[in-house]
Symmetry: C3
Subunit: 261 residues, 3 copies
């Protein structure tokens, strides 16, 4: 597998991403490089964890995903190779893989300890370029992950609020805000299964409420605040043709409730 | 032809683009993916239509161009395969191909109806990922467009203001604003042919005017407001070394006149 | 070598980059295209010169780096092919290669004069697309640089302030600001060699000072203003977890001093 994706908090404009690509191509000139995003807010490990969980499953099995959101660079935080849900990951052990690993037990976790597959020398502040990029490139050439270091028993966890269901309501949170300003929640279509999604369902976030769960933006007029099921089967809140997060002042982590009378 | 380009309104930072690339590479790991732009203003079909017309002709014949500006996603709007001017397009039938098709009769238009070449299941809000990306990937593997669905008689049109010429003037509009803030008009070098381009030509936009049509920014001092012929043979208005659109408050659609006394 | 990188001031959102890629792929469909950055501030040749010096050495030998920061487009400014430090460059002769060439004598410099390897016709305002992109594509197919034009004796220079060392201090400047807002100086780790880097070293920029030179952000609490050695072995000033340039109002070119008592 010679596809390598990159997810970082370097900023879309940063030439540091190209430094990593140069390192990869110096080891494997035939690698296919794909940017997932470089716009993770600086050091926002949780945001990156959600993006990796959302997107990486769309790639061919065994694609190598490198995630460099690494506020602990240069400390003794571990770096990991992990195979989860048939994809391969190279990342610091700071919880960035914890959302992926929440429902899919990692098939294999290795701690990166073998400097044979790193640049030499390595810097103390850019392990994305000096360790993670070359490790990914070597993996893409067929190096056995067992060569990279010892087996690791567990990966670092972050707390992920799980929605709570009761007879007449589901309580969740805003999990992420997409580039259109839509509010993606941690409430899934599955959880709504068997319950009414018509006007009897009242969806509330902050001081805003809407009735019914739609499937298509175009079902309602522009400017309407609506709830719908997004393309990853999660409950989403949106203003049709507008940026709901900015307009309503809603941020990640705010509570979202679906209630039935 | 295994080159596939992507044009969307997802925003440069959006990981949704990577989801589409993952889908393409899952079907054709050898595809070459090129981003045209992901910074089309949200749902601005006209802007995307101009970009596709400007840029896609530079690619090798039969490159596959996927355009996902799709405010009608989930409605019964059609999705199309079209071959226009020796390039292939996959896009919603909302006018995004209408500027390309204005002077170049489409060689072939197919309505995407055959779910064999789509993901299964498909979402209701992300047909770029679930229908257009896989269709493009299958085309890149050699699938005959006739497999994708029935022939379509006509593609959706938008109104495009054409410049009006008279004995002593040409009336056009600002067609787009480029990333330097230069004002690109719909008046072409051809229309100026045989007319004076020296100080006798007066070019007016909003309350600003300039005399003469130049060929090179560096012919005049920094800060000058000038008219020149751009790299696509269109009349352009610019402030040398500055952002004319922002500085002068000019937006797409505003009239531009070239007049001779 | 079929890897071609692109560095421009077009803006990350600009479809002009895709026009260049289309031209390259039309000549060499097998080229591997890598974006270094398109966020060079408009016409900021010095900024681009620093980026090229920082990043391009990470690529495989003989990678072709195209740099289109070209305020003199359409004038008689020369365009160059240069081989420097085992990498190949195609760029205007406006100093954008001068930082690379400061310590590494160019191995070969050719002036681009042979229109056989250009588009035909060429525009007067977009030589990146019409001359530099096709030249790079032909080079990637094995064209001998000698075919591109005559040998050029010297490349255009810009003044680069060099740090001054004395017995008890080093005087340098802020060379660039990275995407995290960290201040990268022109003072190298080499220059600090053999001098104390503990609290006896006082680092000053603008009205701000800090004591000691660290190696890792995580050695000090968030919010601290610190000096450290960056991943390219240069002295860097940073606020841990924050944007130092924005917070302190520091811009490129401001003096930085390391002093010992």
């Amino acid at each position: 597998m010679s596809i390598i994706t990159l997810t970082t908090d370097f900023g879309t404009d940063s030439p540091y991403v190209a430094a990593m690509k140069g390192v990869v191509l110096s080891i494997n000139p035939g690698a296919t490089l794909v940017d997932v995003t470089h716009a993770i807010p600086p050091q926002d490990v949780r945001h990156a964890a959600v993006v990796l969980d959302d997107v990486t499953g769309r790639f061919p099995a065994d694609t190598i995903h490198v995630a460099v959101i690494d506020p602990g660079v240069g400390t003794d935080r571990a770096m990991l190779y992990a195979r989860i849900r048939r994809q391969q990951y190279v990342a610091p052990d700071n919880g960035v893989l914890s959302r992926l690993a929440r429902r899919h037990a990692p098939e294999r976790v290795i701690r990166l300890k073998n400097p044979k597959y790193w640049l030499n020398p390595i810097s103390k502040t850019f392990h994305g370029r000096d360790i993670m990029a070359p490790v990914a490139a070597h993996l893409s050439l067929g190096v056995d992950p067992a060569e990279l270091g010892p087996v690791c028993e567990a990966i670092g966890q972050l707390e992920w609020a799980e929605p709570r269901r009761s007879a007449d309501r589901i309580d969740g949170v805003v999990l992420e805000i997409d580039s259109f300003g839509n509010l993606i929640t941690n409430i899934t279509a599955d959880m709504l299964g068997g319950r009414p999604t018509d006007h009897r369902a009242c969806v509330v976030c902050s001081i805003y409420e809407t009735y019914g769960v739609y499937s298509v933006y175009a079902q309602v007029p522009g400017g309407s605040f609506i709830a719908l099921i997004d393309s990853s089967d999660r409950l989403e809140l949106a203003i049709v043709g507008d940026n709901a997060a900015r307009r309503l002042g809603i941020t990640v982590g705010m509570p979202v409730t679906v209630a039935w009378e």
